[in-house]
């Protein structure tokens, strides 16, 4: 039986997280191929529905990578994203789905290693949880 590879959707902002991604590229750190990256201008623009839709479409996990609280170019983008992630956690909990399947991370532009590590950590965490079994074809 083949090992379960979770489908993960990651939203990352065009400022700190993108810079971190570039740094990681320079370090030749490899992102896991199961993480689908969605680039957004600011994590504050991510709506609750943006985080729920991937689950509806068969994702096993979702996470947001944004700036640190004191370095958001738009002042409070990551704080807004955190609140929405919290709301989605509550919704997942009510649906009987592990709220740990959605997370939010803050990182600075220099944290190239961390950017890649987050992707691997989420992959491993969701792999241990197993499939969300929400696939349209399931």
């Amino acid at each position: 039986m083949s090992e379960f590879v979770p489908k993960i959707m990651a939203f990352y902002c065009s400022n700190c997280a993108t810079s971190a991604a570039k740094v990681s590229h320079g370090m030749s750190k490899t992102m896991p191929s199961n993480v689908h990256m969605v680039h957004v201008p600011c994590t504050g623009r991510i709506e609750t529905l943006h985080l729920l839709k991937p689950f509806e479409e068969g994702a096993d996990g979702v996470y947001v990578a944004g700036c640190q609280h004191d370095s958001c170019q738009y002042i409070g983008g990551i704080a807004k994203a955190e609140k929405r992630v919290l709301q989605v956690k509550k919704i997942l909990e009510q649906l009987g789905i592990d709220p740990g399947r959605v997370e939010v991370f803050s990182l600075s532009a220099a944290m190239g290693y961390r950017f890649v590590d987050i992707a691997w950590e989420m992959t491993e965490k969701i792999r241990r949880m197993g499939p969300a079994s929400l696939s349209v074809n399931s």
Binding site: L49, L95, S133
Partner: protein, 222 residues
């Protein structure tokens, strides 16, 4: 505005259990303003129901639509071709919406998706507070523009009770004693005498105690 809060998803899932096609119907009125029943929230609830359906292995078809208002027949008519396509409608308008839908579409099953709370306003982002009890004959001009009926825990009309302490009501430190506010405002304006004026008891015949209310304005009736 009419302030409402979302029902627990589990409660809504119990209502729609076993159904294959569900329509989530939002309202662009008060419930959009208080972020509980607009197009955005209709999308979130519809998505949640779909996820729940998939989790149980029963793919549920969930439609979404948002009306201009659910408290006017002309807007309720707008979904006359849509409603019959579904096994049930979850209305996320205030309590008026699902009732207008139930009356207009007697063959359909209509469920409420929110709990209607009160008439009030947003005192800060994400915080709403009651301001009006809809008694039918407003008397706030006697009380410095503040309503003791809606905002006093006992709806006292003649001054604070013994539970008023440091401007707060005894029921909670988060609840202002409205009589403290009324008296302070009267003192600040030098109008304390207004509060001492004799007034006959308020007539409650216009309030909910008289049964369901109805209002007719002849100049508008067609």
């Amino acid at each position: 505005m009419i302030v409402a809060e979302a029902k627990p998803i589990s409660e809504i899932l119990t209502m729609v259990k076993g159904l294959k096609k569900v329509l989530v119907l939002g309202c662009k009125g008060c419930v959009t303003v208080c972020n509980v029943g607009g197009a955005k929230e209709a999308g979130i609830l519809a998505s949640s129901i779909r996820i729940a359906g998939r989790k149980e292995g029963s793919i549920v078809e969930v439609g979404e639509h948002t009306l201009e208002r659910q408290c006017d027949p002309e807007y309720i008519d707008e979904v006359k071709d849509l409603v019959p396509l579904y096994d049930a409608v979850v209305s996320i308008a205030c309590g008026v919406g699902p009732q207008f839908l139930s009356e207009r579409y007697p063959e359909s099953r209509i469920f409420p998706g929110v709990n209607t709370k009160f008439m009030g306003g947003a005192v800060a982002h994400g915080i709403w507070s009651e301001r009006c009890a809809g008694c039918g004959s407003c008397v706030i001009h006697y009380f410095g523009g503040l309503c003791p009926i809606a905002r006093c825990s006992k709806s006292l009309m003649n001054g604070p009770c013994g539970g008023s302490s440091h401007g707060k009501c005894e029921i909670s430190k988060d609840v202002d004693c409205i009589w403290d506010m009324i008296v302070r405002k009267a003192m600040d304006q030098g109008r304390m005498q207004d509060l001492l004026e004799f007034r006959p008891p308020k007539s409650w015949t216009t309030a909910r105690d008289g049964g369901p209310r109805r209002m007719i304005r002849e100049e508008l009736v067609k």
